[in-house]
C-alpha cells in the first residue's frame, strides 16, 4: 500500500488509450480515449483530447467545436432568485402556450453561444406559468430543462457497477437481461475472490467474465468457456484491465469439452483442425472471430509476435521479391499464431484437467442443463457454483437433474427484487418505475460424488413431491 504520490496520481489520471466510461445523469457510455476521435453521446458530439491528463471523476462541459472544458467546482446554485411559488396547480392550464420562446428562439440562443444554464434561465423567465407552479413543481421543471440543455459529462474509471448498470440500461439484450443486482448475487454466491481458479461461461458480451476478473484482481486463474469460433470479450475489454490480468485469463472451446472429459483431447488433431479452419474459410464469421481472438491473445501474451506484425505492416515495396517476402512472413506469422493458440489451449486444458476448479459461473443464452452437467465435472468438491438464466423453467430442470445425479447440495433457485426510492423531505416514496425481473439464479455447493449411489438410510434431501390434495383443488 505504499505508493508515492506520483504513482497514485498516475493511476487516477486519464491517459490516451484508457478505457473510460462517460456519464451524463444516469446514462453511461464506454469508450476508449483516443485523440481526435469524435464521440457521439446523448445527441452531442465532442472530442476527448482535453480529458487526457485530467483526473478520473472530472466534470466536463462541452464547449463549441466539441472541446471539453474541465469544470473544477460543481456549483449547484439555483438559477432563479425569486422564491415566488404557487400553492397548488388549480391555475395551471395545459394549453401549450405557457412558454413564450419557440424552438427557433432556443436554437438562436444556442447559436449565440449561450451556456446550458443560461438557456434554462431564459426558459424560466419566458414561462408564464413558472411563478404559479408549486415549489416542488418548479424544482422538477428546472431539473427537466437542465437535463435537456446542460451538457455536463463526467469521465469515470470503469467498474463492474458502472458497466453492469450501463449494459442493463442500454443493451440488456446483449447481456441476456442480466440485471446488475443479479450479477452482484452471482459474484457473492460464487465466492469469487483473489487466488482461486474459476470457470466462467457467459454469453453476456464478457460482462460476467470481466466482473469475475475484477473480483480476482489478477490473482489466480479464470478459464473462459466459449461456444463457436472464439471467445467474446467486448465488455471485458471495456473494464480496461492492466495487461497482467490477461495472463491469468484462459479460454477453452465448449466443442472440446467432451474430448477433454474423455481424456481424448489430442494436440496433433488440434493443429490440423486449426489449419483447416484457416484454409477452408467456409464459415466466415466464426473464422473472423478466431483470428481476432488470436490477434488479441498475441497482443497480450507474446511480444515477439507483435513485433512481427509491426514489421509486416511496414511501408509496402511493390517489388516481387519483397511481396514474396511479405507472404512468407505472413505464413510464418500465421504459424506462430497457431502455435500460440495451441499452447493456450493446452494451458487451459491442463487447468481444467485437474478437475479442481474453485467455482463455476454460468450466464448464457444456451439451455443451462447440459452446460452445468458437463462443466460441474471440472469443479472440486465443496465449491460454490451459480447459474444464471433469464427464464425460470430451464433452471427448474437443472435443479431436478442435479438432484437426481447427486454431487451438489444446498441447491437454491432464487430471484432478486429491486426497488429504488425517491428520498426527499416529505416526499419520500418508491420510484414510479421498477424493473419487472432481473433473471433467475440456481446456486449450490459441490460435494464428493457418491460412487455407491446409495441414497443412504437417511433422508432424501428434497421433501417428497407434495401432491396437492384433490380435495384442496376442489374447494
Amino acid at each position: 500500500m505504499e505508493e508515492n504520490g506520483e504513482a497514485v496520481n498516475a493511476q487516477w489520471t486519464i491517459k490516451e488509450g484508457d478505457h473510460v466510461v462517460l456519464k451524463r445523469e444516469d446514462v453511461f457510455k464506454a469508450v476508449q480515449v483516443q485523440k481526435k476521435r469524435k464521440i457521439i453521446f446523448e445527441k452531442q458530439w465532442f472530442f476527448l483530447d482535453n480529458a487526457i491528463g485530467e483526473l478520473y471523476g472530472t466534470n466536463f462541459e462541452v464547449a463549441s467545436g466539441g472541446t471539453l472544458q474541465p469544470r473544477k467546482v460543481k456549483h449547484e446554485e439555483n438559477p432563479q432568485e425569486t422564491k415566488e411559488a404557487g400553492m397548488d396547480n388549480r391555475n395551471i392550464v395545459d394549453d401549450g402556450r405557457s412558454q413564450k420562446l419557440t424552438r427557433d428562439d432556443i436554437e438562436t440562443l444556442k447559436e449565440q453561444g449561450l451556456k446550458g444554464k443560461e438557456i434554462v434561465q431564459q426558459l424560466i423567465e419566458n414561462s408564464t406559468t413558472f411563478r404559479d407552479k408549486t415549489e416542488f413543481a418548479q424544482e422538477k421543471y428546472i431539473k427537466k430543462k437542465k437535463k435537456k440543455y446542460e451538457s455536463d459529462i463526467t469521465v469515470l474509471k470503469p467498474s463492474t457497477r458502472i458497466l453492469a448498470l450501463m449494459y442493463h440500461g442500454r443493451e440488456p439484450g446483449k447481456i441476456c437481461h442480466l440485471r446488475y443486482d443479479t450479477l452482484a448475487q452471482m459474484l457473492t454466491l460464487g465466492n469469487i475472490h483473489a487466488g482461486s481458479k474459476v470457470i466462467v461461461f457467459d454469453t453476456c458480451a464478457g460482462l460476467v467474465l470481466g466482473a469475475v476478473m475484477e473480483r480476482m484482481g489478477g490473482y489466480g486463474s479464470v478459464i473462459q468457456m466459449y461456444p463457436g469460433g472464439g471467445p467474446v470479450r467486448a465488455a471485458t475489454d471495456s473494464f480496461g484491465f492492466p495487461a497482467h490480468f490477461y495472463q491469468t485469463l484462459h479460454e477453452f472451446p465448449l466443442a472440446k469439452v467432451n474430448a477433454l472429459l474423455a481424456g481424448a483431447l489430442s494436440l496433433e488433431s488440434e493443429e490440423k483442425s486449426g489449419l483447416e479452419d484457416s484454409s477452408t474459410g467456409a464459415r466466415e464469421l466464426p473464422q473472423k472471430t478466431v483470428s481476432e481472438a488470436v490477434e488479441r491473445e498475441a497482443e497480450h501474451s507474446s511480444p515477439d509476435v507483435e513485433a512481427i506484425v509491426v514489421t509486416s505492416e511496414g511501408p509496402e515495396d511493390k517489388s516481387k521479391a519483397e511481396r514474396e517476402n511479405q507472404r512468407e512472413l505472413r505464413v510464418q506469422e500465421k504459424k506462430i499464431k497457431l502455435e500460440e493458440k495451441r499452447k493456450r489451449l493446452l494451458a487451459a486444458a491442463s487447468l481444467l484437467e485437474g478437475r479442481n476448479a474453485d467455482g463455476l459461473i454460468i450466464a448464457s443464452r444456451f439451455h443451462p442443463c447440459p452446460v452445468v452437467l458437463s462443466l460441474l465435472k471440472f469443479v472440486a468438491p465443496s465449491r460454490p457454483f451459480v447459474i444464471y438464466c433469464q427464464y425460470k423453467e430451464p433452471l427448474i430442470e437443472c435443479y431436478t437433474k442435479l438432484r437426481e445425479q447427486g454431487g451438489a447440495i444446498s441447491l437454491r433457485l432464487s430471484e432478486t427484487w429491486l426497488r429504488h426510492y425517491q428520498i426527499l423531505p416529505n416526499r419520500t416514496h418508491p420510484k414510479l418505475l421498477m424493473s419487472g425481473g432481473g433473471g433467475y439464479l440456481l446456486s449450490g455447493t459441490t460435494v464428493v460424488m457418491d460412487t455407491a449411489k446409495s441414497l443412504g438410510p437417511q433422508r432424501v434431501e428434497e421433501p417428497a413431491p407434495k401432491r396437492q390434495k384433490l380435495e384442496e383443488a376442489n374447494v
Binding site: 500500500m1 497514485v8 483526473l55 471523476g57 466534470n59 460543481k74 467498474s159 463492474t160 457497477r161 453492469a164 446488475y180 443486482d181 452482484a184 448475487q185 459474484l187 457473492t188 465466492n191 475472490h193 483473489a194 487466488g195 473480483r215 480476482m216 484482481g217 479442481n356 474453485d358 472440486a380 468438491p381 465443496s382 465449491r383 425460470k392 433452471l395 427448474i396 430442470e397 431436478t400 447440495i409 444446498s410 433457485l413 432464487s414 430471484e415 432478486t416 427484487w417 426497488r419 429504488h420 426510492y421 428520498i423 419520500t428 459441490t446 460435494v447 464428493v448 443412504g456 438410510p457 437417511q458 434431501e461 428434497e462 413431491p465 407434495k466 401432491r467 396437492q468 384433490l470 376442489n474
Partner: protein, 295 residues
C-alpha cells in the same frame, strides 16, 4: 483453510461447516482429539475430519452421515453466532458491488456487529486491501477480532473499539469505500467523508427505517456527496416441486357422467414448478449509496 484461500483437506484449527441436510448446518472448530455431537451421532475430529477432503461425506457414530464443507463468508453468515442483527448475502452482494470492492480496496465499516459483512468484505479485498472496522461495544469488538484471527484474515483487518459518530474511523484519506450500519448514520457522514481518499470513493448506509434514510440523504447532500441513490433488494427463494392437478370431467357427448372409463374420472396432470414460499423476508433495510467525487 482460510476465509480468503481455499484448501482441499481439513486440517487442525480449521473452521469447517458440518452440513446435515436441508439448510441445517453448524460450524466446527477442528481440534485434534475433539468431538462434536450431531443428531446422527458423534463426529470424532481426528478420525472423521482431519485429513479428509472438504466436501466429503462423513459417517457419524450412529451411522448417519453429514457433509463437511469448506467455510465461505456466505456459509459463515448462515452459521455465525449472532451478537447483533446481521446482514445476509443478498444485501451483502449488493453492497459489495455497489461499493466497487475488489482486491486491494481499503474499506471502513461501522459497526462490526457479528462480523457477517466484515468477512465478506475481507474475502473480496484480500490479499492487498485492508478493512478498518469500528465497533463501540467492547466485547463485540474483541470477539470479532478473535474470529478474524481464527479465520486467518486477522492481517487484513483493524478493529477499533470506539464510537464512530464521535471519533470516526481512526484513519483519514485512505478509504475507497465506507459502510455504515449504525442507528444514526447521519452523524457519521462527516467522518465517512474524511476517511475517503481525496480522489473520491463510495459510501453506503444501511438503515431499516425510512426516517433514518431521509436524515442520512440530507447529510450526504450537505457534505457534497453525489449520485445519492436509495434502494431495497429482496431475495425471492423458490421451492422446486412437482404438483399434480386433477383434470375435470366434462362428461360424454350424450350427457352421461364421464365417459365411463375410470381413468377419466380421476385423471390428473403432473408438472414441475417453482413455488414462492408462503412467507418471505419483506424488508431488511434500505441501502443508500453515494459517491464522494473529486475535490
Amino acid at each position: 483453510m482460510s476465509f480468503v484461500e481455499y484448501g482441499d483437506v481439513i486440517q487442525e484449527g480449521d473452521t469447517a461447516i458440518v452440513f446435515l441436510g436441508h439448510d441445517s448446518m453448524f460450524p466446527v472448530k477442528v481440534q485434534r482429539g475433539g468431538q462434536t455431537q450431531t443428531r446422527y451421532g458423534a463426529l470424532r475430529h481426528s478420525a472423521d475430519l482431519i485429513g479428509k477432503h472438504y466436501g466429503s461425506k462423513v459417517t457419524c457414530s450412529k451411522g448417519g452421515w453429514v457433509y463437511v464443507l469448506h467455510p465461505t463468508p456466505e456459509l459463515w453468515t448462515l452459521n455465525l453466532p449472532h451478537r447483533t442483527q446481521i446482514l445476509y448475502a443478498t444485501d451483502i452482494a449488493t453492497i459489495t458491488m455497489m461499493l466497487e470492492l475488489k482486491p486491494g480496496s481499503v474499506v471502513c465499516e461501522s459497526g462490526t456487529g457479528s462480523g457477517s459483512l466484515s468477512h465478506a468484505i475481507l474475502r473480496t479485498i484480500a490479499p492487498t486491501g485492508h478493512l478498518y472496522t469500528v465497533e463501540f461495544h467492547q466485547q463485540r469488538a474483541e470477539k470479532a477480532m478473535e474470529e478474524f484471527r481464527e479465520h486467518k484474515v486477522g492481517h487484513l483487518v483493524t478493529v477499533l473499539n470506539q464510537d464512530v459518530c464521535r471519533e470516526g474511523f481512526g484513519v483519514t484519506g485512505v478509504a475507497d469505500a465506507v459502510f455504515l450500519d449504525i442507528p444514526s448514520p447521519w452523524e457519521a457522514i462527516g467522518h465517512a467523508k474524511a476517511a475517503i481518499k481525496k480522489q473520491g470513493g463510495r459510501v453506503c448506509s444501511f438503515s431499516p427505517c425510512i426516517e433514518q434514510v431521509q436524515r442520512t440523504c440530507q447529510a450526504l447532500a450537505e457534505h457534497g456527496f453525489g449520485e445519492v441513490s436509495t434502494l431495497e433488494v429482496l431475495l425471492r427463494l423458490y421451492d422446486v416441486r412437482s404438483v399434480t392437478l386433477p383434470l375435470p370431467d366434462f362428461g360424454d357427448e350424450a350427457g352421461g357422467p364421464g365417459g365411463g372409463a375410470p381413468s377419466a374420472q380421476n385423471a390428473t396432470m403432473t408438472c414441475k414448478t417453482a413455488v414462492a414460499p408462503k412467507e418471505m423476508a419483506g424488508h431488511t433495510g434500505y441501502l443508500t449509496f453515494a459517491t464522494k467525487s473529486l475535490v
